[in-house]
C-alpha cells in the first residue's frame, strides 16, 4: 500500500477576490515504510500538501488515498479522527502548541484524545520521552520553562505518543542547533528503520535529504516538479542545479573533482566510495 494523490487541487478562499490555488492537479505516490523528503521553495505548497495527509485540509478537487481511507473532494469523509491518530502531523515550530502544566501531561494529551486510558497514555508518554531523549527528571517540569530545543522535543514526543503509522514533519529542525538537528534526524531514521513508520519530512536542507531519505518530492508553484528516489535525484547534479537546488556537499565535491581531471562515475554516492575512487585513480597515475 502507498499514499496516493489523484489530481488533487487545493484552493484557498474560493469564490472571493483572495482566491489562491496552492496545489494544482497533483498526482503523487508516497511509498509506505520509506522516508520521503518534500522540498521546494517557501510558498510552493509544501505545507498545504502535507496538511492533506491527516485531512486537516480536504482537497478542493481530486482524491487522496491514505492508510485504507479515501478522501474525495466534495464529500465529508468519515473516520477523520482516527486518521489524525494514524497520520501524526508535526507542524513547523511545534513548541507553540504546548499548554499543559507538566511535560508528561502534555505528551499524554494526544493519546488521551484518541480514547486511550490515562494509564496507557502515561506509559506511552514515558516511552516517547525516552525516544526523543528527555530523561525522567523532565516529567514534572512545566513545558513552558524549557529551552527551545527541549520544547521542540516535547512537542514531537506528543505526536509520537499517539503512535502514528505515518509521521509527517514540517521543517522539524528549523532553528535548532547543529547537534540537536543531527540527533533529531537520527531519531526519525530510527523510527523509520526500527519502528517501521512511514516518515515524510519537509525540509530545505539537501544534506538531510541526501543522508537520511529514500525518496524525494520536489514541489514548485503548487505542482510536482519531480518525484524520484534520492540516489536517482542526486546522481546527475545538473538536474537539481537546473531546479535551483544546491546539491549536497559530497556531490559538489565529486563534481569539482570531475571538473579538474578526475573521472568518477555518477554511481559514487557516499563519502567512502568517493575516497576509494579518488585513491584508485591517484594510484593509477602515481
Amino acid at each position: 500500500m502507498s499514499i496516493t494523490f489523484e489530481n488533487v487541487s487545493y484552493i484557498y478562499s474560493e469564490g472571493t477576490p483572495f482566491r489562491y490555488e496552492a496545489l494544482s492537479e497533483i498526482n503523487l505516490e508516497i511509498e509506505e515504510g520509506k522516508m520521503t523528503a518534500v522540498i521546494g521553495e517557501t510558498g510552493s505548497g509544501k505545507s498545504t500538501l502535507v496538511q492533506h495527509l491527516n485531512a486537516l485540509l480536504l482537497p478542493t478537487k481530486g482524491t487522496v488515498h491514505i492508510l485504507g481511507r479515501t478522501i474525495e473532494a466534495g464529500t465529508q469523509p468519515k473516520g477523520l479522527k482516527s486518521l489524525r491518530g494514524d497520520a501524526g502531523l508535526v507542524f513547523q515550530f511545534p513548541e507553540y502548541q504546548l499548554f499543559e502544566e507538566t511535560v508528561i501531561k502534555d505528551i499524554a494529551f494526544g493519546p488521551k484524545n484518541f480514547g486511550i486510558s490515562e494509564e496507557e497514555a502515561l506509559k506511552r508518554a514515558r516511552n516517547a520521552m525516552k525516544l526523543v531523549g528527555l530523561d525522567e527528571q523532565y516529567e514534572e517540569r512545566s513545558p513552558l520553562e524549557l529551552s527551545g530545543g527541549q520544547k521542540r522535543r516535547v512537542a514531537i514526543a506528543g505526536i509520537l505518543a499517539m503512535d502514528p503509522k505515518v509521521l509527517v514533519l514540517d521543517e522539524p529542525t528549523a532553528g535548532l542547533d547543529p547537534m540537536s538537528t543531527v540527533r533529531m534526524m537520527e531519531l526519525f531514521r530510527k523510527l523509520n528503520k526500527e519502528h517501521g513508520k512511514t516518515v515524510l519530512i519537509v525540509t530545505h536542507d539537501m544534506e538531510q535529504v541526501f543522508r537520511y531519505c529514500d525518496n524525494v518530492i520536489v514541489v514548485e508553484h503548487g505542482r510536482i516538479r519531480t518525484q524520484s528516489s534520492v540516489s536517482e535525484f542526486f546522481r546527475d547534479s545538473s538536474v537539481c542545479r537546473g531546479m535551483n537546488i544546491l546539491p549536497p556537499a559530497m556531490i559538489r565535491m565529486r563534481d569539482l573533482l570531475n571538473e579538474n581531471g578526475f573521472d568518477i562515475a555518477d554511481t559514487v554516492m557516499d563519502t567512502e566510495a568517493l575516497v576509494n575512487a579518488v585513491e584508485r585513480q591517484v594510484k593509477r597515475h602515481g
Partner: protein
C-alpha cells in the same frame, strides 16, 4: 471574514480619502453630535442627503454601506420591537395579541433606528476612507492639547496602532495552533463539556504564550531602535491641513448649527 465590512478600510483614491484624518475625525464628531439633536424628520432628511453625498464622493457604493449595517440589523429589529411594546405614551395605533402599540412609541423608536443607521453611515465614511495608521496619527494630534492634563496622547496612539497591526497576526496564529491541536486529536466542535474546556485551554494557553513572546520581541526591537515613550519624536508622515480640510470641518459645523436651528423651530 470576507463578508465583514464594518470598519474596514477601502483602498480607493478619492478626494475624501486624501483628506487629513484630523479633519475627518473632527467632522465625524460634529456630525455625531448633530444626530443627537432632535431636529425632526426634516433634519434627518438633510443629514441623510449630506452623508449620502459624502459616501458617493468617496467612491463607496451603498451596497458596501448596507453590508456594514447588516451586523447591526438584528439588534435594531430587537430594539424596535422592544421599544414598541414597552413604551406607552400617546394614542393607540393598533392592538395585536392584546398588546397595544402606541403611535408615539413607534415614532420614538423609528427615531432611534434612524439615528443608529446614520451613525453607521457616518463612521463608515471615516473608517472606509482612512488608513488605520493615519487614523491613529490623527487621534494622536487631536489628543495633543489634552497632554497638559496628563493625557498620554502619543502612548494612546501607539497602543492603538500596535493593536491594529497585530490583529491579522493573531488570527493567523490562532488558526495555526488550532490546526496543531486538531492534529493531536482535539475536536473543537464535538465532545463533552470537559473535553471542550480542554480544547479551549489547549488553544488559549499557547496563544497567550506567543502573544506575550511577540510583545516582548516588539518591545525589544523598539528599544533597540531608541524608542522611548514620552520623548519628543519626529514623524515620517507629517499631516497638513488644506483648505478642503478646513472646509470639511466648516461644513460639519454648519450642519450641526442647522440642526440646532431646526430643533429650536420645531
Amino acid at each position: 471574514m470576507g463578508e465583514f465590512t464594518l470598519g474596514r478600510y477601502m483602498p480607493l483614491d478619492s478626494p475624501i480619502h486624501r483628506m487629513d484624518p484630523r479633519a475627518k475625525i473632527m467632522a465625524m464628531l460634529l456630525c455625531l453630535i448633530a444626530i443627537f439633536i432632535p431636529a425632526g424628520w426634516i433634519g434627518y432628511g438633510v443629514m441623510f442627503v449630506v452623508i449620502s453625498g459624502v459616501i458617493l464622493r468617496a467612491g463607496l457604493s451603498f451596497r458596501f454601506v448596507w453590508k456594514s449595517m447588516k451586523p447591526m440589523m438584528i439588534m435594531m429589529i430587537f430594539l424596535f420591537i422592544m421599544n414598541c411594546v414597552v413604551l406607552r405614551t400617546g394614542d393607540v395605533l393598533f392592538t395585536v395579541f392584546g398588546i397595544s402599540i402606541y403611535k408615539e412609541a413607534v415614532l420614538q423608536t423609528l427615531y432611534i433606528v434612524v439615528r443608529l443607521l446614520l451613525m453607521v453611515m457616518i463612521t463608515t465614511c471615516l473608517t472606509a476612507t482612512t488608513k488605520p495608521l493615519d487614523m491613529t496619527l490623527g487621534i494622536e494630534d487631536l489628543l495633543k492639547p489634552f497632554e497638559r492634563i496628563h493625557v498620554p496622547a502619543h502612548e494612546i496612539a501607539m497602543l492603538i496602532s500596535i493593536a491594529l497591526r497585530f490583529i491579522p497576526d493573531l488570527i493567523e496564529e490562532t488558526q495555526r495552533i488550532m490546526k496543531a491541536q486538531e492534529s493531536r486529536g482535539v475536536d473543537l466542535k464535538e465532545g463533552s463539556l470537559k473535553e471542550k474546556i480542554m480544547a479551549i485551554l489547549s488553544l488559549i494557553v499557547p496563544l497567550f504564550v506567543s502573544a506575550f513572546q511577540r510583545a516582548e520581541d516588539l518591545a525589544n526591537a523598539m528599544e533597540a531602535r531608541g524608542y522611548a515613550p514620552g520623548e519628543p519624536r519626529t514623524r515620517y508622515k507629517v499631516l497638513k491641513m488644506t483648505t478642503a480640510d478646513w472646509l470639511l470641518i466648516g461644513c460639519a459645523a454648519l450642519l450641526l448649527a442647522a440642526m440646532i436651528v431646526l430643533a429650536r423651530m420645531a
